[in-house]
Symmetry: C2
Subunit: 214 residues, 2 copies
């Protein structure tokens, strides 16, 4: 078929690598923190938003710590079904990990109603009771991030990693600044931007990096 728009001729298997070439080219001599480049580029790939070259914050040594946790079978907890759907569960399962999201659980909804808190708050409390190494991938609810901060500060939870990428307006910026004050390894998308896609993408970037080691 002849198109009215000129298309770039790229084979299916080459689309991703061509995309990463374009991203690297456009980043130019932009300085990224050594060891975080793949995560930053994958977030840009997922969002077509170069702001992630500036807004992603990493605690000291977090990438290696997170990769180790996954290799040791850490589970990933999300605050949306979309986040859960986006994470490469087959790849995670190789190391014994699973992804869970309690947001749609009937007991969570009921308790949230009774206490006048968000379902995200109750979901985090439910997850905190799992007898597993835990990675939290938060791409939606600031209230989840705030509750994680409290649980960590109170000594009720010691996660391997908190990915803080809620998106939006009410307490989004604040919840991210808060979690970066907790004694926890974190990867945070500072500011208003983020999303379940970004939270999932950071998990997948870590999984790719582990697979590339092999």
């Amino acid at each position: 078929m002849k198109y009215e728009i000129e298309l770039e001729n790229v084979k299916p298997m080459d689309i991703e690598s061509r995309s990463f070439e374009m991203i690297t080219e456009e980043l130019g001599d932009k300085k990224l923190i050594p060891g975080t480049e793949l995560i930053v580029k994958r977030c840009i790939h997922t969002s077509a938003d170069f702001e992630y070259a500036d807004n992603l914050c990493f605690s000291e040594g977090v990438v290696q710590k997170a990769m180790d946790a996954i290799k040791e079978g850490a589970w990933i907890v999300t605050d949306t079904q979309m986040g859960k759907a986006g994470i490469n569960k087959k790849s995670l399962a190789r190391y014994g990990g699973e992804v869970c999201c309690f947001m749609a659980d009937e007991d969570v909804a009921e308790e949230a109603r009774e206490r006048g808190v968000t379902r995200a708050v109750v979901s985090m409390e439910k997850a905190a009771k799992l007898q597993k190494k835990l990675i939290f991938a938060i791409g939606n609810a600031p209230t989840a991030l705030i509750r994680l901060y409290e649980l960590i500060e109170n000594g009720e939870l010691t996660p391997e990693l908190v990915i803080g990428a809620p998106v939006g307006f009410v307490n989004v910026v604040q919840s991210k600044e808060l979690i970066m004050k907790a004694p926890v390894p974190y990867i945070v998308a500072r500011g208003r931007k983020g999303g379940s896609n970004i939270a999932a993408c950071i998990c997948n970037a870590l999984l790719y990096m582990i697979n590339n080691e092999r």
Copy 2:
């Protein structure tokens, strides 16, 4: 608990409306196409990205046409599991609609390998055979959008609506310009930005608007 960061005190039930207030305030006297305001604001709510006030393109009368199609039981086809996860399936089911995504189907993967095309291409062809009114919510694969263009131009498919919101680099911009040349109702996020979250969000905005009519 006393926080080191000052939080805004908003009740769970009021978070969304407070977010929309903030969005409306920041949009100021920005002109939006009448009837599309809720869709635009919901995309901004989902992404915290005000570019959607400028990049969303609507074909003539598309919002009413899309709402009518949903009310008449249209099914929604996505090109990612994330997009499927993000759509309010309960709300859609009230009108008889379902959401389907063929990307993970074994037969799709096999045919894509054999033909040297993307799974998105084969998924669109599989969806085109459904004996239903169809809405396509494309948030990832430009190749899906290009295949839809071909199927429409060839007279093999007459969708009720194409949501064109692939995100990224290779042929993303082009695929969106292309679909806007097809004789089909469309909602397109022009440029590189978009995503499964945006495609799902547009579907959910339409569902909210229908529910608000009742």
